[in-house]
């Protein structure tokens, strides 16, 4: 049982290619069950959410994009740092129409490029503002916010906004803004989840990221192990493959008798090779899996969807989370 009822902000990171966006989307669906309302937020301007949900590109505006079992609702927002800066300036400096003029001049883009930390604090700041709606019990509050965050290589920097900003601005409004953001991100209201695959490099990156996040006192949530394949062979069968006591000749004779019209010895060679590959791969996965276990964090396994990810498979993944007690 993984009870996240006290968590308002879920940050999902992972190695590129591990399926962060997919996992973030499935988590948003899962947490919206039974009449809840969640927001899935994207920060890298990739329009990955729109692609996944097969909708037109998302504007900088909260939109309902899916339903969850039991009348739940999933909303989405693509946050753009430039727009967030205009919004920020408008809120704090009464900017009015000058905002769009500045944007046309490329000034906003310039400002966020000039100070990369500024970009991150605006993005995370937007998430924190949405979290605070819940604290204020606003009508438009969400039960949970899920961020499809930057990859593991950049996640600590992305979240550790005060460290970034203090190098830039030691005092002043943006500094105070960063401290407010840190008050949410560094608290138990937030959980940073990492998506990995059972392969050497993604697991290593995950371990490194956990260490970095913990050093920075950022709250690590769970590890999502993505694309886990069915165990087609049991332990006993795998041991036979390893020891070479498979009796492959007999097995291929059985296969031929069951209607596989091939030369039994050719078939035996092929099946044996495939069995060995499978066992090698399973052994590697077992090794990597125990390295993940050593982290001592909750882990959630998500099945490989071999036909490729579409909207339907997001619900399958959400169910897999639910079945493993994610609430």
């Amino acid at each position: 049982m993984v009870n996240w009822s006290g968590t308002a902000l879920h940050v999902v990171s992972g190695k590129g290619g591990a399926g962060k966006t997919t996992v973030a989307a499935a988590l948003a669906i899962n947490l919206a069950r039974e009449g809840k309302r969640t927001l899935l937020m994207e920060v890298e301007g990739r329009q990955g959410i729109a692609q996944l949900f097969d909708t037109p590109p998302l504007p900088y505006e909260e939109r309902r994009i899916a339903v969850a079992p039991g009348d739940g609702e999933v909303w989405a927002l693509a946050v753009d740092a430039d727009e967030a800066l205009v919004e920020y300036l408008a809120t704090f400096y009464n900017l009015g129409r000058a905002g769009s003029a500045l944007r046309k001049m490329g000034a906003i883009d310039f400002a966020t490029t000039l100070a990369p930390g500024l970009r991150d604090v605006l993005l995370t700041g937007k998430a924190c503002e949405l979290v605070r709606r819940k604290t204020k019990r606003a009508d438009n509050a969400y039960d949970a916010i899920v961020i499809d965050a930057p990859p593991t290589g950049r996640i600590e920097q992305f979240l550790n906004v005060t460290a970034q900003v203090s190098a830039l601005a030691k005092t002043g409004p943006i500094h105070r803004h960063a401290e407010m953001v840190m008050g949410v991100i560094g608290s138990p209201q937030t959980a940073v989840h990492l998506v990995t695959l059972l392969e050497e490099m993604p697991v290593q990156e995950t371990i490194d990221a956990v260490a970095q996040l913990q050093t920075a006192n950022l709250p690590v949530g769970a590890i999502f192990i993505n694309m886990v394949r069915d165990a087609l062979l049991d332990e006993k069968q795998m041991a036979k493959v390893r020891k070479g006591t498979l009796g492959i000749k007999k097995l291929s004779d059985i296969a031929v008798a069951a209607g596989i019209h091939q030369d039994p010895s050719v078939l035996a060679t092929a099946l044996l090779q495939e069995a060995h590959d499978h066992v090698d791969r399973s052994d590697l996965e077992a090794r990597e899996s125990s390295r993940v276990d050593e982290l001592g964090l909750p882990t959630i396994s998500l099945p490989l969807i071999s036909r490729g990810i579409d909207l339907g498979s997001l619900y399958l993944l959400a169910d897999a989370m639910f079945d493993q007690g994610v609430r």
């Binding site: 500045l102 500024l118 392969e199 087609l232 097995l251 069951a258 596989i260 495939e274 490729g308």
Partner: protein, 383 residues
Amino acid sequence: MNNINAPQLYLDDVVLNPEIHIIVCTGSGGVGKTTTAAAIALRAAEHGRRVCVLTIDPARRLAQALGIEELDNTPRKVEGIQGSGTLDAMMLDMKRTFDEVVEGHSDPERAQQILNNPFYQSLSSSFAGTQEYMAMEKLGQLHSQAQADGIWDLIVVDTPPSRSALDFLDAPARLGSFLDGKFIRILSAPARGAGRGIGKIAAMGFGFFTSALSKILGSQVLNDVGAFVTAIDSTFGGFRERADATYALLKDTHTSFIVIAAPEADAIREASFFVERLNSDQMPLAGLVLNRVTEVNLPEVTREQALAAAQELAAGDAASKFTASLLELHAQRVSQVERQQEIAHRFTAAHPGIRVTSVRALSQDVHDLDGLREIGDLLSSPR
């Protein structure tokens, strides 16, 4: 993957061709770019070439295999090369490369001023695109060195793990136009700039903007930027020229691009973008390497046959059940292969003339030179 409908890419025609002096390995992140670059470099060296490989962010074990765990920004000789060739390897240190460019273009006093500037420090370590720019810069340096002393006859470059492979080509220009940009110029001399060129309304907006920026960031930041631009003004022309020269080098007939992808939708989409871009920029493309491809040992046995037989055997004794599992395993693999072929077809259908080779998925990551050699063999044998 035997039924990819595309001409075969013979990598040895590129890697062992004495006319090719630069090979650029590119593609989206996580497709095995760095490993491929290292394997190609090793293969060239073991066929007698004098090779330098520039890696960007190698996995720890690959770096160990090459003996370049130390990040010192200089090529180091790789031990254990068989044959008469040589292999040097290095890992890019982008900050240090940037520092060296500054030092190389300014007198010591001014260089120190720039290096100490907080804005420079932020730019050189975190500007999106600095890594790409510095990879390009380093390539230029290595190439000049090779031209001058003949130490290498082939340079193999890995490209940064950007979200988009195109960043490698675009980032230098982006950094250049950022540093040359109107805003940064005006910031270095606000009074002069505001009255000229950008128009009245914009000037008002700009004045507001700079004041808002100094309010939220603190005026220190803007001062730093101003000081940086003033200090770098005289050296930046040099930067630009160098970036342009390296860009021209990439179009040279002695250069060859290899695009790397895995049979996954995103990687293939990126590969397509990149190939189209190389084409429109008239850059020399050797072809596509499709990494991590699943192979099936007996394609004659279809998924349907395997599953039908497995179903029949599932109720039998232990041996029958075991056979059923093996057949299901086979069926699963056939499905995976079909799926990968379908994805690869998105590329080959759109780019029918591009040469392609494929490398089967290996069960382990590379730990040593033998592993790299094996990949080199796989890369150069027909798919």
